[in-house]
């Protein structure tokens, strides 16, 4: 039974990879860009969920790592001549991780509301600084039109498919890494810290240090997402990458999708994108639809769309197997 399941899973994953590989050729550039945005925000939301869902730390300033990744990559490409695109992404990741390392001695001591507020403070500080230090960051205009050298081609700007494949490879690897991390003993300790930090401390694990590690990793992954977001738009701006809205967007995605699960945030991002797309076509008031969705989800689907999905799956199973088996499985 178990072997069959892993085989089925393998086939499903291969099918998904094949589908994504063929996507640009079949559906054209518009939908390819949509998938790319989905992937970027998925990595971003999952990286936040590493803190929120797995370690129990709510951050109101995750955008600063997203923005650091973007600004790091953009500045590197703009100022260092002949730099490849991969090292530039690396610069972005390092920038985000470095910021997290600097902040970590300060933030790992606190949790709960204080953690959230401290991040609000630093996030806003970085946002305002990015607006005001216009000699470095370009102020409100941000950094636009920086060169993006390709790996096989002169520039990625003229070949969006190449950017798509590069992004998919890197972002996919990131998602896999984060998923893998939740399965390691270290990931289990994180869940332990969320549920009962004192007990983990008594068991002999170093709570602040493990928090710092997961915090830095989460920041680095957010940096990857931000870096690709900058490359994709060929623009990094304070409002687009560092603003308070960018900090709240992944929180909302995580909550809508379901904070407890790994794939929940991705589902949340997908729902968001779908709604955005539909809103653009049929109505003008994004806010109204978004607001109503948030209210409905909190009041009626408290476990998020992932919970809804699991419920359907169980019901479907109940139809095919007898009930005792389902109860065992769940």
């Amino acid at each position: 039974m178990k072997k069959m399941k892993t085989k089925a899973n393998l086939v499903l994953w291969l099918a998904l990879i094949g589908f994504l590989a063929l996507f640009p050729g079949v559906f054209g550039i518009y939908y390819t860009n949509m998938i790319l945005t989905l992937a970027i925000f998925s990595v971003y939301a999952v990286s936040l969920n590493m803190l929120l869902g797995y370690t129990g730390l709510l951050s109101f300033g995750h955008a600063m790592f997203f923005g650091m990744g973007g600004y790091g990559t953009a500045l590197a490409l703009k100022h260092i001549e002949g730099l490849g695109v991969l090292p530039a992404i690396g610069v972005g990741i390092l920038a985000a991780a470095a910021l997290a390392l600097i902040l970590s001695p300060l933030v790992v001591r606190v949790s709960g509301t204080a953690f959230a507020m401290l991040h609000l403070a630093f996030g806003q500080l970085l946002y305002v600084l990015a607006l005001k230090l216009y000699k470095i960051t370009g102020g409100e205009d941000g950094i636009a039109n920086f060169p993006i050298p390709g790996i096989f081609t002169e520039s990625l700007k003229s070949s969006p498919e190449h950017l798509y494949y590069l992004a998919m490879l890197v972002l996919g690897a990131c998602l896999w890494l984060m998923w893998f991390m939740t399965k390691t003993p270290f990931g289990q300790i994180q869940v332990g810290i969320r549920d009962n930090a004192k007990r983990i401390d008594y068991l002999g694990y170093k709570v602040p240090q493990s928090k710092a590690v997961v915090y830095t990793l989460s920041a680095a992954f957010a940096g990857v997402a931000g870096s690709f977001y900058g490359l994709f738009h060929n623009l990094v701006s304070a409002d687009g990458s560092l603003g308070i809205g960018m900090s709240f967007a992944p929180i909302v995605s995580v909550m809508i999708g379901g904070a407890g699960s790994f794939f929940g945030p991705i589902l949340g991002v997908a729902v968001f994108q779908l709604v955005d797309e539909l809103i653009l076509r049929y109505t003008e008031s994004t806010e109204l639809v978004m607001g109503v969705i948030l209210i409905v989800v909190v009041l009626f689907i408290p476990s998020g769309f992932m919970g809804l999905f699991n419920l359907f799956r169980l019901k479907l199973k109940a139809r095919f197997f007898d009930k005792t088996k389902v109860e065992k499985a769940s």
């Binding site: 507020m117 500080l125 305002v128 607006l131 109204l288 209210i295 009041l299």
Partner: protein, 290 residues
């Protein structure tokens, strides 16, 4: 008097007036959080809504005073309704659920405002009595701002009396420290919550009406002032009225003197202040330890 000194003084007064308005919003936000643990993201939206209500009342009746009286009351009624219909059902979900819910409600309110009143900024005439300048010790100062300062002080005194001199205030303070215990003593805690939510949104509404003639009424009002008020609450410490008051005044002064001396970096000052305070006292200046 020396013109530079009188300019400093009038800048300071401007700062205090803005600080007072911040305090009106922040204290509502603060008391709701302190007691119910709800981070009310819709608070700023209610604040803005009251400004629009006032605009409407003035448009119909022509009386600013009536608007000042009626608009905050309608806003408070809506706030109570929101607490009763939505927030109470989300209580089981914990604070994250409430946060997302109030975010959703804020979105709906902003969308509604844009639908009904459009996106342009609407001017609100202040009453004739409050127009013009007054002479204080050789310098002229707009009457309206004095009125704002006075209004906020009156509300502050009223709140203090309510909280520290009445039985209801005692219950509210007790509920801030341990709501389950208060409930167990046979006090209908839900009713108290509803009341507190009403007072909180009423104060936000009052601030909205007070600021409307200065900044005009536009849909970005909530973002502009709401964020500042939020920072005030965070820096002052959740659940502390005194903290909110002091930090409001400090921020008001920082923003008005900041614009004068380091106009480039005026917005940074507030955030830097918040970051420094939180770095050493994560729960805010006067916040209780968790």
């Amino acid at each position: 008097m020396d013109p530079t000194i009188s300019m400093y003084i009038s800048q300071g007064m401007h700062g205090i007036a803005y600080g007072m308005i911040l305090f009106l919003i922040a204290s509502g936000l603060n008391i709701i959080f302190g007691m119910m643990g709800i981070l009310n993201m819709a608070h700023a939206a209610f604040f803005m809504l009251a400004a629009y209500f006032c605009y409407q009342v003035v448009g119909i009746t022509g009386s600013f005073w009536l608007g000042l009286l009626v608009a905050p009351l309608i806003t408070a009624a809506l706030g109570v309704l929101m607490e009763r219909l939505f927030l109470r059902r989300a209580q089981a979900l914990g604070h994250m659920g409430e946060l997302i819910l109030t975010m959703g409600i804020a979105n709906v309110i902003v969308a509604g405002i844009k639908k009904i009143w459009g996106t342009e900024s609407l001017p609100l005439q202040m009453p004739e009595m409050l127009q013009g300048m007054v002479n204080i010790a050789g310098m002229s100062y707009p009457v309206y701002r004095l009125f704002v300062i006075g209004l906020a002080l009156v509300v502050l005194v009223f709140m203090m009396l309510l909280l520290y001199r009445t039985r209801l205030g005692k219950i509210v303070r007790a509920a801030v420290s341990d709501r389950d215990m208060v409930n167990a003593l046979g006090i209908n805690i839900n009713l108290v919550f509803m009341f507190v939510f009403g007072v909180g949104t009423w104060m936000a509404g009052l601030a909205g009406v007070a600021i409307a003639p200065i900044l005009t009424v536009f849909p970005g009002l909530a973002d502009q002032v709401g964020m500042d008020a939020f920072i005030v609450v965070v820096t002052g410490g959740f659940g502390s009225l005194a903290g909110a008051f002091i930090v409001s005044i400090v921020f008001g002064l920082l923003s008005s003197y900041g614009v004068q001396f380091v106009s480039q970096f005026a917005p940074v000052l507030m955030v830097v202040f918040m970051a420094i305070v939180l770095a050493f006292r994560p729960n805010g200046l006067f916040g209780a330890k968790d």
